[in-house]
Symmetry: C2
């Protein structure tokens, strides 16, 4: 006997988004940003995530405009890159993750930091940072390093999506971003929670709102 469950992908998306909108009060978010909040909650299954989402005024509009204008998306982890729904991207935007780049290990050794942090230096060296959508969904060290490089005068991305996760530096790196984003629009989740699914959900929302063109 077949099990009883919803099998139509568009219907599943619709019912998911409806459930979230029914259970969560989104009033404190600007209306343009509410679809992004819904997608973040959808990615993790937790309605109380809404309480921890921090953002700068107008961040959603800046990020969406950057993608529409063709900005590259810089991902700290392959999981982030693979969570982005390419069909939603408005300008066939480039997605970069340099974790497997052969220059990464030497760069990490040179700067005395993680490979994830060294990605920031490679993005900078290769002129990728300026105007980019930076999506950090794994490594606190990547977010810390980005702030360090910005303090040192690195080119500014269009927006920082700050979703590193975990027990060492995640809450701290996001607090550093939120406390002083170096003039760059940001969206982040405070505390230990985060992850690649949230980072890619944020990109998907900037790209396509609640579109279900999957």
């Amino acid at each position: 006997m077949p099990l009883d469950y919803l099998r139509d992908p568009a219907a599943i998306y619709r019912k998911s988004f409806e459930t979230i909108q029914c259970e969560v009060t989104l009033d404190r978010f600007p209306s343009a940003m509410q679809p992004l909040v819904v997608r973040l909650i959808h990615a993790c299954g937790m309605t109380d995530l809404a309480d921890d989402i921090a953002f700068s005024a107008g961040a959603f509009e800046v990020g969406a405009a950057a993608l529409a204008a063709g900005a590259a998306v810089l991902c700290d982890a392959e999981m982030v890159r693979h969570g982005i729904i390419r069909r939603l991207l408005p300008a066939d935007n480039d997605l970069h993750c340099l974790l497997s780049d052969e220059a990464l290990r030497p760069k990490a050794a040179e700067i005395g930091n993680t490979r994830s942090a060294a990605e920031i230096d490679l993005w900078e060296d290769r002129g990728l940072l300026e105007g980019a959508v930076v999506a950090i969904g794994n490594a606190p060290t990547a977010l810390f390093r980005l702030l360090e490089r910005l303090d040192a005068g690195a080119a500014k991305p269009a927006i920082i999506l700050g979703f590193p996760v975990g027990f060492v530096g995640a809450a701290e790196s996001k607090a550093a971003l939120i406390g002083n984003s170096r003039g760059i629009p940001y969206i982040a989740v405070e505390g230990r929670r985060g992850g690649s699914a949230m980072a890619s959900a944020a990109v998907n929302a900037l790209a396509g709102g609640l579109g279900t063109n999957v």
Copy 2:
């Protein structure tokens, strides 16, 4: 001025795992399985996840032995595949995700289900299911479909890692697995929480415990 944060990857892993072991009581889990619980918590930043982890007796040992014997890992999503730390795998195990396979859309149309669910049928058609480590980190429909195909007599995987996430079918599909796993060992997280990071963390733990060979 450089920011103050931990930069050494091995030290970060070690401090993360120590923090979790300090904050979470793992007594209800068999000692062999405790590293897997730690990795799951590490992947999501939430210590209370421990309360929702369900498993069959001996599941960890079965899964670890399957990987050691060369079992393939079948992933429902590319994010799961990319979260698996290949260096930890004991037998250079094959990792399969068929979401981009050209046979998938026709199969989904044929069975009237999602592409994720149709992956199960492709795994079955291609003889991949038997003895495999199945890691479901995204789609409830994939887990439901797996249970349906098992009821129809499909070959049995070695273990089911059940971590679909979200608001439609995630809790229900995992409850169906836990209520009757069709004789197959399983590890899952009850409720809406889950995700690809947890599914790949479970594989990483079966492969390498708390090894930090990254």
